[in-house]
Each structure stands twice: as C-alpha cells, then as structure tokens.
C-alpha cells in the first residue's frame, strides 16, 4: 500500500512540475519584469512557425457584437498579411464573462498579450497588471505628436504610461423622431445652450425636469394612453419615454448630478465614500421614473423582457429617448432593420445647473505578463493607427487622432444615412462635456466596490416599494468597509 501511495504521490509531483513548467512567470516588479520579458522574448522560439504569436483579448468593453467581431477579424487578417514576424490571434469573450475569464487566464499564467478596447472601468479592475509602454514608445520611435498631449497624459498613471489615446465616446440623447411626431412633441435641442420648445410654445431649459415631462408624454400603454393620462395601464406599456441605455449606476448619478469624486482618503483605513447627495437625488428620480405614479423608464423585469430587447431597449424600438455614448452606434442593427430612424439630441443639464455630460475613452493595453512586449507594442501601434480606420467606426468611437474624425463620420453616415449632419455634430459638441473625474474612476478594492454599486442598481431596477434612502445609506456603509478591506 505504501508503494502504491508513493507512486501516486510521485505522479502528482510530476504532474505539478509539468504544470509549473508549462506556465508563464508571474507578474513581477516592473523593472525586473521588463528585463525578464525582453530576455524571454529573445530566447523563446517563435510560437507559431517562424512567427511570434500575440494574443488579443476582446471583451472588457465594446467589441463583442457579431458585426464588430467580423471587422476585428478583418483587421487581424490585414495585420497578419502585412508582415511576417508576428501572428495576431483574436480572442473574443462575451462581456459578462470577460472579467472572470481574464482573471483566470492571468492566474494560470496564460494571460493574453493585448487587451482592449477597454475603458477606465475595465482597466481599474486589473489595476497593477498593465505594462508601462513608455520604453517601447521610445525604442520603436512611435510618433505621439499625432495626439493631443493632454490625451497622452490621460494614460499616465502610477503604473506608468499604460496606453495611448485611441477612441473617445461622447454622449448624446438618441431619439426616435417618429415617436415624437406621433405624440405631437418637438425634438430635443441639438445645440448646447438651446432650450426645449413645448407644443404650446413655452420654452424650458433642457434639464432633467424637462426630460422627465417629455418622457412621460412619450411613455405609452397598449391602449395608446400616455403616462400622465387617466387610465394609463402601467402593466401594459408598449414604449417608454427614456432609457439610460447600458449605463452603470455611477453613470446615472453622473448624468443627473454631475461628475464627482466618489471616495476620499489616501491609504487603507482612511478611505471613505463621498458619493454626493446630488447622485442620491438622481437615484430617487430614476427609481420614481420606474416605480412612481407616472412611470417613464422601464423597470428591470420590463427592460429584461424579450419584447423590450433583453435590455437593449432603444435598439428594440421601445424607447423614445436613450441616453448613451457614441459606442452605441455599434448596436442598432435590429433597429435599422426594422426600418426605424433615430437622431441625436444634446445631453441634459444636471442638478448643478451645468451640462452633466460623459465622455468614455477606450484604448488597448498590454499585460505585464506578456512574453512578447515588443511584438505586442507593434500590434498596439497598428491597432490605434492603421487598424483604427476600420475599428473605430465598428466600435462607434470617435478617433483620438483628429485627422481621422471626418473619415469616421463618413463611415457612420453610410451606416445610418438618415442621421443628419446636425445630429452627428451633437457628438462633436459633446467632447466639451467630459465627466471629470470619470464615472469609471478608480476606487480602492475596485472590483468589489463596483460589484456593490451594481447590486444597488440591480435592486433599484427590480424591487417595487424600495426605500431608496435606506438602500443608499447601506451602499455608503458597505463601500466604507469595502474600500478599507
């Protein structure tokens, strides 16, 4: 029996050693890592034939829709055909599973080389894992003068230069003119500073109060009654007036109350949640929009129903207005195929009296654990320049390289010929209203803190009769613990 156990133990040890041998080295201190990876890159034979294989992971942000996947595959094919030293391999992971998948890959030492497009939110979840690309910018002679210097600086963090500007996504209100026409309402303004004109000729600032009034009139039940009318059947709504399309709970707060630092403190033990009261008011407004007497926002169950596009409400043609960013132009296939049309309106004025806009910014990042940093940087440089010509329109992203803007809108106009120039210009104007600090800002214990925020959002969306004040207090209390864990 002892012999038997000995053999079994030996087998296990051999298997463990094989696993260790197959695995990549773990993330180390940046300087040591740099040397190690360079050495590894020099020593390692080419992974695929004579070519070095570089894995590109997509899933932490936009890029997983079938239309986008096809374009990305095209870009990969273009890149692979353009040279004979690197083989680029695309890995698409559904958004919902991407964080867990990437975590697991990194943990097992089998992480990809490049990740993106990814915004600040997705990047913060892997804080400490990103490679400082400054040495590779220098050694490759990459010309960063094509970008606004402020945007380059935007990607300098404590981890170093973790990315280069690639895509910006200003926000706007997407609206369906047909629904406005049917209700006899004027369209949202398309120039910042303009007022909204009600059918009786009265003018009002385009703020959340006005949006609410308009949205209620655009929320219609099966009998054709709107949300303000007697006999409106809230259980049989066929369209809603407003949808914060694919926005996080932090975004909802930002849009309503303006950008804000959501925590204070400098080290563990001193962190404290500082979510402003204006966000809390925003959450109460949002909740009232779903479960109040005159609803104008789809509740969680309604939004999740197949009839309402399983959450993609505007695309399903069920929302008169959807507040979201340029990246949403990626995902309007069903909408367009149904023969529907949209235009773009300005973002509303927030509770602080100023336009509370949002601008997302995505880029590609290289993981510290890469075995091929130079090759990965070569791919990154290709993706944000040449590859960007195809990728940016597919992502619905405005280029960070100003010279490419015109080409971007030309592609978008071809996709959506009914969208007017005035509408596209709303996006350009939107760049002047970024959320600083971003609603995707870094928080201590980021993943857990974001998960707690998401739970709060989920609770609001799906619970009738909720005491939002009490739940908000609980959120703050929990965040104070999570930040200092």
């Amino acid at each position: 029996m002892k012999k038997y156990l000995l053999v079994l133990a030996s087998l296990l040890v051999i298997a463990s050693m094989m696993l260790v041998a197959c695995g990549a080295p773990a993330a180390e201190e940046p300087a040591a890592e740099e040397a190690a990876t360079e050495e590894a890159a020099a020593e390692e034979p080419a992974a695929s034939g004579d070519k070095v294989q570089v894995r590109w992971f997509v899933g932490l942000g936009t890029g997983t829709n079938p239309e986008q996947v096809a374009i990305q595959e095209e870009v990969v094919a273009d890149f692979n055909a353009s040279q004979d030293e690197i083989e680029l391999v695309l890995e698409i992971v559904p958004y919902d599973a991407a964080r867990d998948t990437l975590s697991t890959q990194i943990a097992s030492g089998a992480g990809p080389d490049i990740v993106g497009p990814v915004g600040w939110g997705g990047s913060n979840d892997f804080y400490g894992q990103w490679l400082d690309i400054a040495p590779y910018i220098e050694s490759s002679g990459f010309d960063t003068s094509v970008f606004d210097p402020a945007l380059v600086k935007f990607y300098q963090t404590e981890e170093g230069q973790v990315g280069l500007p690639f895509a910006v996504f200003p926000g706007a209100i997407y609206f369906q003119p047909a629904m406005f026409d049917e209700s006899g309402l004027n369209y949202p303004p398309q120039v910042y500073g303009e007022k909204y004109v009600f059918p009786d000729g009265t003018e009002a600032d385009w703020n959340w109060e006005t949006v609410t009034q308009v949205a209620k009139l655009l929320t219609v039940d099966v009998n054709g009654l709107n949300s303000t009318e007697e006999g409106f059947d809230r259980t049989q709504m066929v369209q809603v007036g407003y949808a914060p399309q694919w926005q996080s709970v932090q975004s909802v707060g930002t849009f309503y109350g303006g950008a804000a630092n959501i925590f204070s403190g400098t080290e563990k033990g001193s962190y404290e949640s500082t979510i402003p009261d204006s966000w809390k008011e925003g959450y109460k407004w949002y909740y009232d929009g779903m479960y109040g007497e005159q609803p104008f926002i789809a509740t969680g169950p309604l939004a999740g129903a197949p009839e309402f596009g399983n959450g993609n409400i505007f695309n399903a043609g069920k929302a008169a207005m959807g507040l979201t960013q340029t990246w949403y132009t990626c995902c309007l296939g069903d909408f367009k195929n149904a023969g529907l049309e949209f235009q773009l309106g300005i973002q509303p004025i927030g509770a602080n009296g100023e336009v509370a806009g949002r601008v997302d910014a995505d880029t590609f990042r290289i993981l510290k654990g890469t075995q091929h940093p130079e090759e990965a940087f070569a791919v990154l440089a290709y993706l944000i320049t040449t590859g960007g010509d195809k990728l940016l329109p597919a992502y619905g992203a405005m280029p960070a390289i100003a010279d490419k803007t015109e080409a971007f809108f030309a592609v978008k106009s071809a996709d959506y010929p009914f969208v007017t120039e005035e509408s596209w210009n709303v996006f350009v104007q939107g760049l002047a209203y970024p959320d600083t600090p971003s609603s995707e800002q870094y928080q201590p214990n980021s993943i857990k803190a974001n998960a707690r925020f998401a739970t709060f959002f989920d609770l609001m969306n799906n619970t009738e009769g909720l005491d939002v004040d009490a739940e908000f207090a609980k959120l703050v209390e929990d965040l104070n613990v999570i930040y200092n864990e």
Partner: protein, 337 residues
C-alpha cells in the same frame, strides 16, 4: 468494515498484480487503458485542483497574482476570516437575527423547501407512470422526461421569461383570471416568492429522477404484491410495507444526489437574479458567494477556504446520511449483523 477494506487493499496492491495470471494482467491493462482518460481527467480537473485549493487556503493569493507567484503563508488566517464572515455564516452567531441572511442559512433554507419536492415529486410521478390503469404510459413518460434533455441554462431562461413580472404569460394569465394587479406574484423579484420560483424551475427537470424511481418500481417482484393482496393489504399498506422498502435504495440514491446538488446550488440564482443576491440578499447562495469571492473579487485564497468548508459540510452530511441508511434502506439479500 476494516476487514473489507483490507481485502480491497490487497486486491489492488502491486504484489497482487505481480501474482496475477497473464490473462488477468492483460485484462487489467485493458481495463486501465479504457479508464485512463477518465483517470487523467480526474487527476487534472478534480484531484490536482482540490489539492491546489487546499494549499491556496493557507496562503494569501489574489487571482491576478498568478498561481506561480511566491506563496505567502498565512496559516489559518483564511479560516479565521471564514469564522468571522457574516455573509458566509459559518459561525452560528450569524444564523439568526441578522437583517440579511447568511449564505449558508440561505442554502439550508432553500434546501428545506426544495428537497422534499425533489424527492416526492418524482416518486409520485413514477407511481403514476407505473399505474396499470394509466393509458398511454409511454407518451407520458416521454413527455415528463423531455424537459430534462433541454439544456438547463436554456430552460432557466425560458422560465425567466414565463415568470417575468411585467411580460410573463403566467402573470398575464393570473391577471386575466381576475387576480388583482397588486396581488400578482413577484416571482424571482419577491423575497417571499423567490424560493418557490426556483423550486418550480427545478420541477421542470425532474424527469431523470422520475425515470430512476420508475425503474426501481418496475424492479419490485410482482409476487410480493400478489402475496399482499392475498393477505388483504390495502393500497397504503402495500406501498408502505412493500413498495417503499423495495425502492428505498433508489430513494436513498436520489436523496444523496439532491442534497449534494442543493449545497452546490448556483446556476439559477446566477442567471435569474444576476448573482447579485437580489431580492434582499435572499439568493446569495453559499456556492454563489464562493464563486464571486474566487472569480469576481479575485480572492483565490478565501475562495478556496470557502470551497473546502463546503466540501467538508457535504462530506459530513453525506456520511451522516449513509449512517442512517441502515435504519431505512433495504437491500434485498443483504445480511445485517
């Protein structure tokens, strides 16, 4: 028991292998060859990960550190954290009085509702299917089994749609039948309805258990029923004194599988309630909390500790269950000392 173990050990020892006849050796090699894929799979995907997680539970390791980073031993710190964690609920002080129930209590509460249904519903159906007066048994058997072959995740989505509080046809039907809007069930969004909702979804897949019960029922010798009839036994007496003892091994088998499955309950709350614990924290089952700790929050060490605690609980419950078997499970031909 010890004697049996010794016999088994001798049978599988290397000495025994050496003493085997060549044909027996060849047969054994073939046997091992055919099972080798399973053995490799078991080693790679079960045994080694189990050993690894035991190791992780004694170190401080985040998933982004990578499993090949230099381990930092923390002794029993993770187990101490487990004891103090109100969400896990290992410590009895968190079992009662807390506003949000702990994951262990949530799991046990749900098991108390789901287990009887998971055992008796297939048994009742199997008894029905085995009734000689039922016409078209084959059709019913097929119909009841059919949902089992639908991928579980697909059926969860299907039920999610049917039980949608806003657009689901079940609530629409109830509304049509005159149930006032304010009295319509909130299903997965209502803390009072969420467990029954999950149980209803579970009933959808009882076809397999029903089939196993039916096989057990059909294996009961008919002469026992004939003898009971001659003795004047009524239906209940026949069931209790003949049917139940004869199929008790099958019931026992289903009971063990159900209990293990309930402790590992995970997929339905993850899909239906997004794994957030909604409503009111009622669906943050132990295994879901484990998954979130390990993967979402990237805390491999504490996640492993949670996993080992779960393993030990399941092991103890299963052993206890086997301990009770001698009192109520009847194996034909078994000699009891």
């Amino acid at each position: 028991m010890l004697e049996e173990l010794n016999k088994t050990r001798e049978k599988f020892s290397f000495a025994a292998f050496r003493n085997m006849k060549s044909i027996a050796k060849r047969e054994m090699r073939s046997g091992l060859g055919f099972t080798s894929l399973w053995i490799i799979g078991f080693l790679a995907f079960t045994l080694i990960p189990m050993i690894a997680t035991l190791f992780f539970s004694f170190i401080d390791l985040s998933i982004t550190d990578g499993i090949f980073s230099t381990p930092k031993f923390v002794g029993f710190d993770n187990y101490a954290q487990l004891w103090k964690d109100p969400q896990a609920g290992v410590n009895p002080q968190f079992w009662f009085g807390s506003e949000t129930p702990s994951s262990l209590i949530i799991t046990i509460r749900f098991a108390l509702i789901a287990l009887p249904v998971g055992i008796f519903a297939p048994l009742l159906l199997a008894l029905l299917m085995n009734n000689k007066h039922l016409k078209g048994q084959f059709i019913f058997r097929t119909l009841f089994y059919l949902p089992f072959i639908v991928p579980f995740i697909a059926s969860v989505f299907l039920w999610g749609g049917m039980l949608n509080t806003e657009t689901g046809w079940i609530n629409r039907f109830l509304e049509f039948a005159g149930v006032p809007n304010e009295n319509l069930p909130g299903w997965a969004n209502d803390v009072n309805w969420v467990y029954p909702t999950y149980v209803i979804m579970g009933i959808w897949g009882i076809g397999n258990a029903m089939l196993i019960m039916l096989a057990g029922l059909q294996g009961v010798p008919t002469e026992l029923y004939d003898a009971a009839k001659v003795d004047g036994a009524n239906t209940w007496s026949t069931f209790w004194n003949i049917t139940f003892p004869m199929i008790s091994p099958v019931i026992f088998y289903n009971l063990v599988l159900n209990i293990v499955g309930l402790f590992q309950y995970f997929l339905v709350p993850l899909v239906v309630n997004n794994g957030t614990g909604r409503p009111g924290g009622a669906t943050l089952f132990y295994n879901l909390y484990l998954y979130k700790t390990f993967f979402t929050f990237q805390n491999m060490s504490y996640g492993s500790t949670l996993a080992w605690f779960l393993f030990i609980v399941i092991l103890i419950v299963t052993i206890a269950l086997f301990g009770t078997a001698k009192y109520w499970v009847y194996y034909a031909g078994e000699v009891r000392s």
